[in-house]
C-alpha cells in the first residue's frame, strides 16, 4: 500500500533533530470518556502538565522526551521522524520520532495497544498487508526511504529481519526453514546453504539441539526451539536490522532466558528493535528503551535512565507498575 500524506497533522519542514523535545500540535478529536477516567485515576492534579493523558484531555500537543545520550553523535540506522499512522479512520501512531543507533538493542515498551507492534511493522512495511493503513512522515533505513512509492519493498524486507510474537516456522524441514530467505533470493548451492544454515543455527543457539535432525519437520520442535529457529531464519540473510515483536511472550521462563541470552549475543552484530511488555526483559536485554503510550512516543533514552530515572510522569508510573 503506498503511503499517503495525511490531511491532518502532516509533517512540514525539516525532520526533528534528535535530542529536542518534539512538541507538535495535535488535532485529535475530543478526548474520550475512557481517557478522562484514566486521567482521574492515575494523574494527580499537580502533575497533569507532565502527562500524555492530560495533554490529550487539554487538547494540547504531546511531547517526546528524548534523552541526550541517544542524540549523541552515534550513527543511526533507522530514522523515524514525525511518523503517523491511521488504520482507516483510527489513528494508531501520532507523530512518532525515533532514531535507532547502529548495532544497539532498542526496546519498545508500553501498555498493550499503544502501537508498539504497529510501529515496528512499519519498518519492514509489513503493514502493507492491511488494506486500510495510511502513513505519513519519514522513515528511513540507512539512506533508503521506507515509505516512498519508489521503495522496493521486497528488497527492503531482505535488509530487515523480523521475529514474530507467535513462532511461525513454515511446514518444512528445519533446514529449509533456515535457508528460506536464501532460497527465495535464488541461492541454490548446497554448500552455501549448508554453511549458512549452520552459522545461523549457531547464532540462534540452536545448532547443538537440532544438528542431527535438520531434515525433520520444524513443527516437531518445542515452542522455544521454534522461536529460536525463527530467529535463525531471520538472521540467515544477515539483515541490517532485526525486528522482534514480543518474541518471548509465548515462551516458558527457560526458553525466554535462552532467547534473551541470544539477543545479548546478537547485540553489536545486528541492530535490534524489540517490542516487549515485560519490563524486566527490556531492562535486561536493551541498550535503549522507548516508552510508548496511546500511540505517542513518550520518552526515549538509555535503558538505565528510563527505568531508574525517567523524566516523564507517565514513564515513571508505567515502569513502577502503577498502570499498564
Amino acid at each position: 500500500m503506498p503511503s499517503r500524506e495525511l490531511d491532518r497533522g502532516a509533517v512540514t519542514g525539516a525532520p526533528h533533530a534528535a535530542g529536542t523535545v518534539a512538541v507538535r500540535p495535535d488535532a485529535d478529536p475530543a478526548p474520550s470518556s475512557i481517557l478522562a477516567e484514566r486521567a482521574s485515576r492515575f494523574v494527580s492534579a499537580d502533575d497533569r502538565s507532565d502527562s500524555v493523558i492530560a495533554a490529550i484531555l487539554a487538547n494540547r500537543p504531546t511531547a517526546t522526551v528524548v534523552h541526550a545520550e541517544v542524540a549523541e553523535d552515534v550513527p543511526h540506522i533507522v530514522k523515524i521522524r514525525g511518523f503517523s499512522l491511521h488504520y482507516g479512520e483510527k489513528q494508531a501512531l501520532h507523530d512518532v520520532s525515533l532514531d535507532v543507533p547502529v548495532g544497539k538493542v532498542v526496546a519498545l515498551i508500553g501498555p498493550s495497544g499503544c502501537g508498539k507492534s504497529t510501529l515496528i511493522r512499519c519498518v519492514n512495511r509489513l503493514n502493507d498487508l492491511i488494506d486500510s493503513v495510511r502513513t505519513s512522515g519519514v522513515l528511513t533505513i540507512g539512506e533508503t526511504s521506507v515509505l516512498g512509492p519508489e521503495t522496493d519493498v521486497i528488497g527492503l524486507r531482505k535488509r530487515v529481519g523480523m521475529v514474530f510474537q507467535k513462532s511461525n516456522p513454515f511446514p518444512k524441514s528445519i533446514f529449509e526453514n533456515v535457508v528460506y530467505g536464501l532460497r527465495i533470493a535464488g541461492e541454490g548451492r548446497r554448500s552455501v546453504l549448508r554453511e549458512v544454515c549452520e552459522r545461523s543455527l549457531r547464532e540462534a543457539a540452536l545448532w547443538d539441539e537440532v544438528k542431527d535432525r535438520l531434515d525433520e519437520s520444524a513443527l516437531q520442535l518445542s515452542g522455544g526451539q521454534q522461536q529460536r529457529l525463527c530467529i535463525a531464519r531471520a538472521v540467515a540473510t544477515r539483515p541490517e536490522v532485526l525486528l522482534m515483536d514480543e518474541p518471548c511472550s509465548a515462551l516458558d521462563p527457560v526458553a525466554t532466558a535462552k532467547v534473551e541470552e541470544l539477543i545479548g549475543q546478537l547485540r553489536g552484530v545486528y541492530t535490534v528493535m524489540i517490542v516487549t511488555h515485560n519490563m524486566q526483559q527490556a531492562a535486561r536485554v536493551s541498550d535503549y528503551t522507548a516508552f510508548m503510550y496511546l500511540g505517542r512516543l513518550v520518552e526515549y533514552g538509555p535503558t538505565e535512565a528510563i527505568f531508574q530515572n525517567p523524566r516523564c510522569r507517565d514513564t515513571r508510573d508505567y515502569v513502577t507498575g502503577r498502570f499498564g
Binding site: 498487508l129 512509492p149 519508489e150 521486497i154 528488497g155 514474530f164 511461525n168 511446514p171 530467505g181 527465495i184
Partner: protein, 768 residues
C-alpha cells in the same frame, strides 16, 4: 440429602455432601444423554442408508452373474419315430413330424387328443427331408420327386372361460420344383427375409448328389400373400468342393451354405445371374479329424454354431475382414469341447443361445459371451430337443420316444463378467472389442453391454473437464486469496457462488445449442486463445516485474488488475481474430473438387491429419461446459483452504523478502495442499457424476478413444439415456444398475484414495 427426621436447622449448618454439591442438574444430564443418542442414531442412520443403497444395487445386479437354472418339470410320451420336434411359445402343444410324414400335436397341459396332419398326403409325395426354422415355425419339406414344399405352423392362442387354449394351425404350400432332374431330396432348407427368399437342397439324382438352389418371389395382392413362384433355379453342384452333406439357407434370403462330408463349407451368395461361390472354408482344418458333425445357424443367421466330429465347438460369424469389401465367415468363438459328435441341436428363438446334445450331455451355450449357461449329463440320450419361444422350457425326446420337459430359467443370458468387462467378438465385427449398444432395430440384434466404453467415456469427460477447470479454478482461488484486493475478492466470491448455482441442464443446453456450433467453426481460434491467453499472462507478468518499482507501486493492485485484464482481453481477441488466419495457413486439406486447391477447414483437416473423428458436440465443448460447472466448486473450496493458511506464515515469508508469488507457491500452496486436494477430488466427483451436460452436449456415442473432437457416453448419461428403454428386471435394467454400482464404486474409490492422501498431506503440512 438430609434425613427428614433431623431438625431442619442442622440441615443448614452442615453443608451438603460434596457429591450433591457438584452434581450436575438432572435436566442437563438428560438433555446430554438424549442429544448424544440422537446424534449417534443420526450417524448410524446415515451409514445404514448408504449401506442400504449399496446392498439394494448389489441385489439388483447379482442375478446378472448367475447361470441358467434347469430342472425337470414333467415327462410324457412323444409319438414314436419322430424326426423333428417343434413347440409353441407356451410349450403346451409340441408337434412331431413322424417318418411317415404326419405332423402330430400333443397336449401337455390339457387333455386334448393328439391331432395329426398328414403332410405327405397334403403335398402328395413322400417326405424325404425336413428342416425346421423355429423362429418362424416353417418346415421345409424335401420330397421324393426332387421338389420341396413349405409347411407353416402357427400357434393361435384361444381363450374361453379365461383359460388359454393353444391351437396349432398348419398351412402347407404347393410343392415347388427345384429344377433339374428328379430324385430324392436328401436335405433342404429355406430362408425368407420377407423380400428375398431362397431355398437350397441336396437331391440324389441317379445315385449322384446334386446341390440346387432356387430364388423365390411371392406376389402380394390386395387380399393377401400370393403364391410363391420360382424366379430362378441354380445348380451349384459343379461348384461344390466335396460330397454335400447338408445345406443351410440364410434367413436373409441372399445366400446358402453347403456342408460337405470332407469337413468344408461352401458359402454361396446371390448375384444377378444366380449364386457365386464366395468362400470355401474348413472350420476344423486344424483338428486331426476336420469333419463336421453339426452346422446350424444361431438366431439372426449371421453366426454358425459348428461342432466337429470330435466334439470341438466353434462359432463362425459373417464379417468384413480388414482390407476386404465383402462379408465372409470367420472364426469368432471357441467353446469347451463336447465329448463327441452332436446328436441333437436347437437354438433359442430370442437370444444367441443354442443347445447341443452329445450322447447324454446337454449343453446350453451362449454365443455372444462364449459361455456355457448350463450343462448336464442327463439320465437319457436325447434325440430331439426344442426350446420354447418364451425361453422357459426345454423339451427333450429320448431314444425310446419319451418326452422330458425341463423348466429353464435364464433371464439374463447375455450377461456375464466377460460381457461387461471383457473383449467380445460381436457378430459383424472384424475383431473382438468393447462395445455398448443395448438395443437394436431388429429382433435378432445382439445386445452389447460392455461397461468399458462407458467407463472410458466417464474418464474422458472428467479428464477434459478437469483439464480445463483445475488450472483456472486453482489459479483463480490463488488470485482471490493471495493477490486480489479485498474489494475484488468481495466481488469474485459471490459471483462464483452464483455460477455454482446454475442448473447443469442450463449449462448443457447452452453447450449444445450455443457453444457447440460456435466452437465447431472456430476451433483454430479456440486453440489460439488457449495458447495466447496463458502466455499473455506470463509475458505481462514478466514485463510488470521488469517495470520500475515506482510505476508498480503507484499502479497498486487495481492498476495491476486492469493492466492484466486488458492484456488478457487483447490476447483473447487476437486469438479469436487470428484463428481463421491460422486455419488458412495450417489447417488445410486438398479440395477434392478442384485438384491443386486447398480448403481451409479444421473440421476436415483433423480427420485427414489424425484419422480421428470430428464431431460438433465433442469433448472440447463438454470440457468447457462441465469445467464451468466444476470451477465454482473447486474455486470455493480451494479458496477457503488457501485463505485458511495462517496469516503468520504469509507474514513470515513476506518479512523474509519473499515476493507474493514466492510466498503463494512456496508457503501457502503446500500448506493448503490438503484442502486444495479435497477441492480437486470434490470437483472430480462432480465431474464423474455430472449427467445433464454430457447428455446434452455430446452425441452420447459410446466410443473408446480420448479424441478431444469426438464425444463420449458416460455411465451417468447412459443411465439417463437408457432408463426409459429398460424393462423392469430385464438385463438392460440390471446392467444400468451395474453402471450405477460402478459409479458408486468409482466415487467411493476416489474418495477413499483422496481421504488417505489428504490425511497424509495434512499431517505433513500441519501448522500449529
Amino acid at each position: 440429602m438430609s434425613d427428614s427426621t433431623e431438625p431442619s436447622h442442622l440441615d443448614r449448618a452442615t453443608p451438603a455432601p460434596a457429591g450433591a454439591r457438584v452434581a450436575t442438574r438432572r435436566s442437563v444430564l438428560l438433555l446430554d444423554r438424549a442429544m448424544s443418542l440422537i446424534i449417534r442414531l443420526g450417524g448410524i442412520g446415515i451409514i445404514v442408508a448408504v449401506l442400504g443403497i449399496f446392498v439394494f444395487i448389489l441385489w439388483q445386479i447379482l442375478p446378472l452373474f448367475r447361470g441358467a437354472a434347469v430342472e425337470l418339470a414333467s415327462s410324457g410320451r412323444a409319438p414314436p419315430g419322430a424326426r423333428l420336434m417343434l413347440v409353441d411359445e407356451w410349450s403346451e402343444r409340441p408337434g412331431f413330424l413322424g417318418a411317415d410324414g404326419t405332423l402330430t400335436f400333443i397336449d401337455l397341459v390339457g387333455d386334448a387328443p393328439a391331432e395329426s396332419i398328414d403332410l405327405a398326403g397334403r403335398v402328395g409325395a413322400q417326405i424325404t427331408a425336413a428342416h425346421l426354422r423355429p423362429t418362424t415355425g416353417t418346415i421345409a419339406l424335401g420330397l421324393e420327386d426332387g421338389s420341396f414344399a413349405l409347411a407353416d405352423v402357427n400357434y393361435r392362442a384361444e381363450f374361453d372361460d379365461g383359460r388359454r387354449r393353444v391351437v396349432p394351425e398348419v398351412n402347407v404350400g404347393a410343392p415347388i420344383d427345384l429344377g433339374g432332374g428328379r430324385g430324392r431330396v436328401l436335405d433342404v432348407d429355406y430362408g425368407d427375409s420377407g423380400r428375398d427368399k431362397v431355398a437350397a437342397a441336396i437331391v440324389e439324382v441317379e445315385g449322384k448328389l446334386e446341390v440346387r438352389a432356387v430364388v423365390l418371389t411371392q406376389r402380394r395382392t390386395l387380399v393377401g400373400a400370393g403364391r410363391i413362384e420360382v424366379r430362378g433355379a441354380f445348380d451349384a453342384t459343379p461348384l461344390v468342393g466335396g460330397t454335400p452333406k447338408a445345406v443351410l439357407a440364410s434367413s436373409k434370403g441372399d445366400s446358402f451354405l453347403v456342408v460337405t462330408d470332407e469337413g468344408e463349407i461352401d458359402y454361396f451368395f446371390a448375384v444377378d445371374s444366380g449364386f457365386e461361390l464366395r468362400q470355401r472354408f474348413s472350420p476344423f482344418e486344424d483338428q486331426p479329424d476336420p469333419r463336421i458333425s453339426m452346422a446350424e445357424f444361431i438366431f439372426g443367421d449371421v453366426s454358425l454354431a459348428l461342432v466337429g466330429v470330435d466334439g470341438t465347438n466353434r462359432v463362425f460369424s459373417l464379417f468384413v475382414p480388414e482390407g476386404q469389401s465383402v462379408r465372409t465367415w470367420g472364426r469368432t468363438k471357441q467353446f469347451p469341447p463336447l465329448p463327441g459328435p452332436v446328436s441333437a441341436y436347437t437354438k433359442s428363438t430370442r437370444t444367441k443361445a443354442f443347445l447341443v446334445v452329445a450322447g447324454s450331455l446337454a449343453s446350453l451355450r451362449f454365443s455372444t459371451t462364449e459361455s456355457i449357461r448350463w450343462q448336464e449329463e442327463l439320465p437319457f440320450a436325447p434325440r430331439l430337443v426344442a426350446i420354447s419361444g418364451k425361453n422357459d422350457r426345454i423339451l427333450f425326446v429320448d431314444e425310446s420316444s419319451r418326452l422330458h420337459v425341463y423348466a429353464l430359467s435364464d433371464p439374463h443370458p447375455e450377461a456375464s463378467w466377460r460381457a461387461f468387462f471383457g473383449r467380445i467378438w460381436y457378430e459383424g465385427a472384424d475383431r473382438p472389442g468393447f462395445e455398448w449398444q443395448s438395443t437394436g432395430g431388429t429382433d435378432d440384434f445382439e445386445p452389447k453391454l460392455s461397461m468399458v466404453p462407458l467407463l472410458i467415456g466417464t474418464l474422458k469427460g472428467t479428464f477434459y473437464a478437469l483439464l480445463f477447470a483445475v488450472p483456472i479454478a486453482v489459479s483463480a482461488a490463488m488470485y482471490a486469496s493471495q493477490f486480489a484486493h479485498w474489494k475484488v475478492r468481495a466481488f469474485v466470491k459471490p459471483l462464483m457462488e452464483v455460477m455454482a448455482s446454475l442448473p447443469s441442464v442450463v449449462l448443457g443446453f447452452l453447450a449444445a445449442l450455443w457453444l457447440a456450433p460456435i466452437i465447431e467453426t472456430r476451433v483454430p481460434s479456440v486453440l489460439l486463445m488457449l495458447l495466447l491467453i496463458p502466455s499473455a499472462g506470463v509475458v505481462l507478468g514478466l514485463l510488470w516485474s521488469a517495470a520500475p518499482v515506482a510505476v508498480r507501486n503507484r499502479a497498486g493492485l487495481f492498476g495491476e488488475l486492469t493492466v492484466l485484464l486488458c492484456g488478457l482481453l487483447v490476447a483473447g481477441a487476437l486469438g479469436w481474430i487470428g484463428g481463421p488466419l491460422l486455419e488458412r495457413l495450417v489447417f488445410t486439406v486438398p479440395d477434392p473438387a478442384e485438384p491443386g486447391r486447398r480448403i481451409a477447414d479444421f473440421r476436415l483437416w483433423w480427420p485427414a491429419f489424425t484419422g480421428a473423428d470430428f464431431q460438433q458436440r465433442n469433448s472440447l465443448v463438454v470440457g468447457f461446459m462441465m469445467g464451468f460447472a466444476v470451477i465454482p466448486i473447486i474455486f470455493t473450496i480451494a479458496e477457503d483452504a488457501l485463505s485458511n493458511v495462517p496469516q503468520s506464515l504469509r507474514s513470515g515469508s513476506l518479512a523474509l523478502g519473499a515476493s507474493r508469488w514466492q510466498t503463494a507457491v512456496r508457503i501457502v500452496l503446500p500448506t493448503a495442499s490438503a484442502g486444495i486436494f479435497s477441492a480437486l477430488m470434490i470437483g472430480l466427483g462432480r465431474a464423474v457424476g455430472e449427467t445433464m451436460i454430457v447428455l446434452m452436449a455430446t452425441g452420447n456415442t459410446p466410443i473408446m478413444d480420448f479424441n478431444i473432437f469426438s464425444g463420449m457416453r458416460t455411465l451417468s448419461a447412459n443411465i439417463a439415456v437408457e432408463l426409459p428403454e429398460a424393462p423392469h428386471h430385464g438385463t438392460l435394467y440390471r446392467a444400468l444398475f451395474l453402471g450405477a454400482m460402478l459409479l458408486f464404486l468409482m466415487t467411493f474409490a476416489v474418495n477413499t484414495v483422496a481421504e488417505v492422501l489428504r490425511q497424509h498431506l495434512r499431517e505433513r503440512f500441519r501448522t500449529i
